[in-house]
């Protein structure tokens, strides 16, 4: 028995190596948002408060991980990139209400949960990008089904959360049957199978593969900042759809406090910081999004795209129709 000493030893060594020694002044974040966006903010926060921020970045499966970790989860704050994920976390009972004067002052009612379990940090529009060669056009999302755009539309996967949320808003407006018809017609208009990212669609417009694409607002700003991608962005207009009726579909990025947050005080401090005017300004500038806090202006570049009317459909309604949207996308075989 004692001769096979190596295997148990290795296991024990590994266990030891994996133990995290908890320090006091820390806050732990599970983030769907990308490092380049949130790290500058966290650095500012640490500078101001002395509280160290630990982050896990993930795109998938955060809810699953939190569920499995349960009451021993080290997570304090969750950062997400769309409303549906926040609602999913809430539905699974993984959040707790967070309240402070700062939060209640900073975030308008339509951008937070009624029970204070989640707060929006920024908003982003699902824009329609169009080739400059077409000239200026007033688009509605409904126009994407128009036969005159046959073979001229590009988009990323319909199953991407940003597109699913848009389809959910269409269901809220038109009902399931009409939305399915719309999806089928849009699919028939696609220049190619849904693929790539929102930026790749703008690249395709630049290369004349298509004329129109769906894309979030901030990608436009970020492409203009990138030396390679500026060329693509220069070929398109960013359009705010449905300006003469319900307004453009808007989604949010948001934050929430984990149900079993071990560092609650620090977590609240971080939340307060993230909604503060300087942080809102910085968050919005870094990723070209619209700050949620009233009075904080978006970056000059974003402001230059002009004022727009946003669809005032409640975020909860969008999340509610998410599953129906997925079912319709399957029925239309949108990605196939």
């Amino acid at each position: 028995m004692n001769k096979i000493w190596f295997s148990p030893l290795v296991l024990i060594a590994l266990l030891g190596a994996s133990l995290n020694v908890a320090a006091t002044d820390e806050v732990n974040v599970y983030s769907y948002r990308q490092p380049f966006l949130v790290e500058p903010l966290f650095n500012e926060f640490t500078k101001a408060s002395g509280i160290k921020v630990n982050v896990v970045f993930a795109k998938k499966g955060m809810a699953e991980r939190l569920t499995r970790e349960g009451e021993y989860s080290p997570a304090d704050i969750l950062l997400t990139t769309d409303i549906s994920r926040l609602i999913e976390l809430k539905a699974k009972g993984l959040l707790q209400p967070a309240q402070s004067t700062e939060l209640s002052v900073a975030i308008p009612a339509q951008f937070k949960a009624a029970d204070d379990t989640w707060y929006a940090l920024t908003t982003r529009v699902r824009n329609i990008y169009s080739a400059k060669r077409l000239g200026k056009i007033d688009f509605n999302y409904e126009d994407l089904a128009d036969e005159k755009y046959q073979g001229r539309i590009c988009t990323r996967s319909g199953k991407h959360p940003y597109n699913v949320a848009l389809v959910a808003s269409m269901i809220a407006e038109h009902g399931k049957a009409d939305t399915l018809t719309w999806l089928q017609k849009v699919k028939a208009n696609l220049a190619r199978k849904p693929q790539g990212s929102d930026r790749a669609q703008v690249q395709a417009i630049h290369q004349n593969l298509c004329d129109i694409s769906l894309g979030n607002s901030y990608y436009f700003g970020n492409m203009l900042k990138d030396e390679k991608q500026k060329l693509w962005a220069d070929a398109v207009y960013i359009n705010f759809p449905n300006q003469n009726n319900r307004g453009a579909h808007v989604n949010i990025s948001g934050m929430a406090m984990a149900k079993y947050a071990p560092n609650k005080v620090n977590a609240l401090a971080l939340m307060n910081f993230l909604v503060s005017a300087p942080a809102q300004k910085m968050y919005a500038e870094t990723n070209m999004e619209y700050p949620v806090r009233p009075g904080v202006k978006p970056s000059k570049l974003v402001a230059a795209w002009g004022q727009f009317k946003a669809d005032d459909l409640s975020l909860e309604t969008i999340a509610k129709h998410r599953k129906a949207a997925l079912i319709l996308l399957d029925k239309a075989k949108f990605d196939l």
Partner: protein, 542 residues
Amino acid sequence: MLAGNKNTSWKFFSWFFALALMSPIVVMLLGSINASSDLFSHLWATVLPEYIRNTLVLGVLVALLSFCFGVPAAALISQTNIVMGKQLRWLLMLPLAMPAYLVAYLYTDLFDYAGPVQRLLRAWFDWQSPNDYYFFDIRTIGGAAVVIALVMFPYVYMLTRTAFEQQDRNLLRASRLLGCTERQSFYQMTLPLARPAIAVSLALVTMETLADFATVQYFAVSTLTTAIYDTWLGYSDFAAANALASVLMLFILFIVIAEQRARAGQRHQSSRPNTQHQRKQLSIAQQIIGSIFCWFLVFAGFLLPVILLLVMVINYADYPQFIALIATGKNSIEIAIYTATIATVIALILALFQRLHQSRSRMIPVQISGFGYAIPGTVLAMAMLATFGPLDHVINDVAKALGFTAPGLILSGTVFAIVFAYIVRFSAIANGTINAGISQIPKSLDLAPASLGVKTLPAIFRVHLPLLKSSILVAWLLVFVEAMKELPAVLLLRPFNFETLSTQIYQLISDERLEQGALGAILIVLFGLLPIIILNRQKDNP
């Protein structure tokens, strides 16, 4: 042959490790019990048939292409005198160092309508739109199959070449004496004798393909893994996702069984490998054509992607990127070293148990411990969470009951979970390599030490391990390379503030900003090259 108390402890450890590696799979199967039939009937009525068809077509195409790339290359290198054969012998292994998702991204980017190749063609010929010319569509099942085969064929090449080279030269002589031409004896003797090796390698390649998600995603090809992701992340139906993953497992089980059937009863041990056999002398034209075929594989599977990365590095890399790489690179290497070491040790224990133990069930631990290779990385990560989460809770509850402070999550969300997941996933590779090595050791050596009165364990250290030295090294290196490249499991299981080279590249790729991660990508490739260089040196000086 293992006697006394060692007998039981060896047995205990073999079963312990095998069952531990099997546990996430069992958890996955159990998790599928409550799957809702509503979602299934919806999927079945809409997209699932096409997903399944795509999965099957992709699996068959990749296997077919890997065969067409790997077997002729193996034959040309081991049986003929093509131009630069000596260099190509190891150059053909290089594509193994390339992560499939990276090559997929580079190729889709290169041959896409908006990519440089088509842009250049349009500029030359003044074409304005896609209607003006024909160009193949890279984002199709065919495109995906070609690219996956380009990075996977080296498995087929390596195993088949080894099989060719280790065939008994007396058999070949006999076939020639019986009047076979060189060609006849190759097709009727050499090739059939290599069947087991070809079957194993094709099974590995197909399993890897079926379990893939990231690569096919770049090709906009929806497969069964797409359905698993949709049900889990879209419909938030964990049980249904588990059920679909179990279906995928069945597919793969079928491949494993088919592979074992295909080589049932075929045991071609040779004590006289034909290393100095007469190579077929080709005409100059044939030598050049053969060489071009092999060079094409090296170029498409390795050189071209590396050149594309290097161009990005030259244009975009800067000092801060390099500094950032040191920490992430260290994480990648550490995890890969842990994984390779433990997987190899476990493979040794299991393989020696199978060889030396007399219990009737001795085959089972090796077999069940290899199943993990068939599970997509993300599904495995979910299964790990489902396995270790509850375990962590038990540990904490017990600690609290005993009056200690709860230690927190010591298994899930730590390096332990990542390494464990990797071992589950890559044990099949270590097992296969070590078993192949052990089967080369004559059975008589198992008995010799006992007859000389030496105990089993010292005998293993003095007889078997030295003879297995090269297999151990190969197993360690292959697992190391795979662990460096692995992506989905680490994405979901990693602890706080923990980046690896692969997570960083993935992040940048998803933003179309690979150029800023090109330096890291080159680093993964370089580390992937190390083992190949070492392997090659070792083959040359045995």
